[in-house]
Symmetry: C2
Subunit: 412 residues, 2 copies
């Protein structure tokens, strides 16, 4: 695992406020790692609504299957462990989720059906859930409202920094809070961008409203990032709404079309976008944050496919790592996407400097000027197709030797 923090880590980490109705605690259960926390328990008040979106892998992890089956009811607890993904663990995996939920339910004083689970780490190794015995009971007793950074740290695997985001917004006339956390940092590709993320709010939203917010919110955030084109078996984004702000007068929202939801929906999406960008900023071995913008495509969907083709191209990503504005490789990635594109209408720019237009090198293109901007830690690749009004944006990072080092020496 990489010891040094990504140079792309945000410099302004927010103070995370409490969310009424949510308490957190972390511990070192010894799942896999030594000398660090690896289990998070979040305890929610009665009446907490829950929603979730998950990996589209055909081989999902046991916790993903567990959560899918439990959606639609309320949530009282969330247990997250790092170090072991409890994926491809067969019957043992299902037993481990049931046992974990049972231990958590007893510790919190709720039904196992109100316990949500997420696991991240190595695939294919049995998860010894008996390690949670005792640990979760202690965590339930010590859980506190202000443990957000500790929580975000406990769920890390190869992440080099904890990822949190917060927003406050008015719902009706009442101030409500949204807190989120996420972990990356490899095996990141839609859909659903692979990682774990948990968002909490005190807003009184129904599960259906929360699910609707999640579904529309991920489209241009977590589903618009990719690290390495690999889709995890464990991708999980859960949102919890305790409804505690109703005590302060916040209106209960039970329809996604409720106009009072508008500002909240925007703030919610901003939190998702913030976390998703942090995941891209902490891609394994990342030294550059890469924003790919495709415009002039026939449709937004077509623009997304082309942007993803560029963002997933090893040759584009290694060129960025080498600070080389190799727009020829961008052309290659446009060409292989299989979407409508006319070579002779294509324009490409790096960080605002156009290097190619009308299917050939831009005559005014100055290599030295471009070389200079390629040193920036953030690189924007903009491709104008000149065909229509379809536009999209995805985030990724460069592909460095460190990525190979991290992933060639992860399990052993």
């Amino acid at each position: 695992m990489s010891a040094s923090v990504s140079p792309l880590a945000p410099t302004d980490v927010p103070d995370m406020p409490a969310i009424a109705g949510v308490k957190l605690a972390t511990a070192a259960a010894g799942i896999r790692y030594k000398g660090r926390t690896d289990v998070l328990l979040a305890v929610m008040d009665k009446g907490t609504a829950v929603a979730g979106v998950f990996t589209k892998s055909k081989c999902p992890s046991a916790p993903v299957e567990w959560c899918r089956a439990k959606l639609g009811r309320g949530a009282r607890a969330l247990v997250v462990n790092s170090g072991n993904a409890n994926a491809f663990t067969g019957k043992t995996g299902r037993q481990a989720t049931a046992l974990t939920a049972s231990i958590a339910a007893k510790a919190v004083g709720c039904s196992a059906n109100e316990v949500f689970l997420a696991s991240t780490g190595v695939i294919g190794e049995p998860l010894d859930a008996t390690k949670f015995d005792g640990v979760l009971a202690t965590l339930a007793e010590t859980a506190a409202p202000d443990e957000w950074m500790a929580a975000a740290t406990a769920i890390m695997t190869t992440d080099t920094f904890p990822k949190v985001a917060t927003a406050t917004v008015k719902l009706g006339k009442t101030k409500v809070t949204i807190n989120g956390m996420a972990k990356g940092a490899g095996m990141i590709a839609p859909d659903m961008a692979t990682m774990l993320s948990f968002v909490f709010t005190d807003a009184p939203l129904s599960s259906a409203v929360l699910q609707s917010l999640l579904k529309s919110g991920v489209e241009d955030t977590f589903n618009a990032i990719t690290i390495d084109s690999d889709t995890s078996t464990s991708d999980t984004l859960l949102a919890f709404a305790t409804g505690a702000a109703a005590d302060d007068g916040a209106p209960k929202i039970s329809r996604a079309s409720d106009p009072r939801l508008k500002a909240f929906a925007k703030a919610f999406q901003d939190v998702l976008a913030n976390l998703a960008e942090q995941v891209a900023r902490d891609g394994e071995g990342a030294r550059k944050l890469v924003e790919v913008i495709v415009e002039g495509a026939t449709t937004k969907n077509s623009a997304r496919k082309i942007a993803m083709s560029i963002a997933n191209s090893p040759l584009v990503k290694t060129a960025i790592a080498g600070e080389d504005a190799n727009w020829g490789r961008v052309v290659m990635a446009v060409g292989k996407a299989g979407e409508p594109a006319n070579r002779d209408k294509l324009s490409i720019s790096f960080n605002g400097i156009r290097v190619a237009k009308s299917g050939a090198r831009d005559p005014s293109y100055n290599e030295a000027e471009v070389s200079e901007v390629m040193k920036n830690p953030k690189i924007q690749i903009k491709v104008a197709l000149g065909l229509g009004k379809g536009r999209d944006r995805v985030l990724t990072c460069d592909l460095t030797k460190e990525y190979v080092a991290i992933n060639g020496d992860y399990r052993s």
Copy 2:
């Protein structure tokens, strides 16, 4: 560019026989490289049939467009240059192909429509075709039947060894010969597996027969390899049949269904398979040749998609580089392929040792034993899905720090 030869290079390089009706010559035209040959001229006798398959990129190179337009007639000359792909070069690119063909036609004494072109190297830089002036005339004069290794060397870019293959087979009662060459070594993914390859035979085949042999021949050879999932703008596979063996009594074949073609078709496919494997063996930075076999899929096409998902996964490829039998990542890649798969029926083996069965770790799996076989330079990953009879096989290589080094410092 990597200086040392891939450890996966074949140890037994064949002596390449002459092909009646084909002469070759190479030169250093100074396209881009210093101190090495970078242009190949092949001169074919009158009456030579030609067939070709090309990249499916929506942004193909100028030579690809040239060749596509010239198919269906005969061929008298092939000009290949390395160092510059003449791709995304706009009108200048089209002018460069026309000029090159015109210079070659004059040198050889044929029509420009009988000249085939291929370029490989950097994308987006104008190709100065005037550099061929004089050079091609000299090459046409000095062309000789035995320059196969020199030819295969002149077309290399980041390849670490020249790739040739040969076969002799009876057509009717006459011995005919098939010679092929190819270059890789990055931006290799179907369809059409990205590279340049040229195959020559003295068999008297019509263009239609040759095209049919190519089309069916590439499916499980060049279209079944991937280095990095990136599809070149320049992929070109051309086949030439001089027909000279007709003088020795070989029958003229004008229908692909002709039963006399059977042994030839097999030998032809073997040459393609041999060259394709050499391309995988010389993938940029490759230290392991990886054979992915998927069986028990619902269809062959489904097996191909799953095999490609595994072969293109950076996490699987880095694990192989790290000599880690990380079957969890293989599960991930199966899951992300989007094809029918039942986690609980999946079995996975590395070099014959089964590590997972029925959706979980194989109880008899011995880590030390598997670690030992992972040191082999050739790794076979076999996935049994247990659903149907669909089977497929693809070749790839591992993903190493050297790949990143080669591609992070290619253009500059």
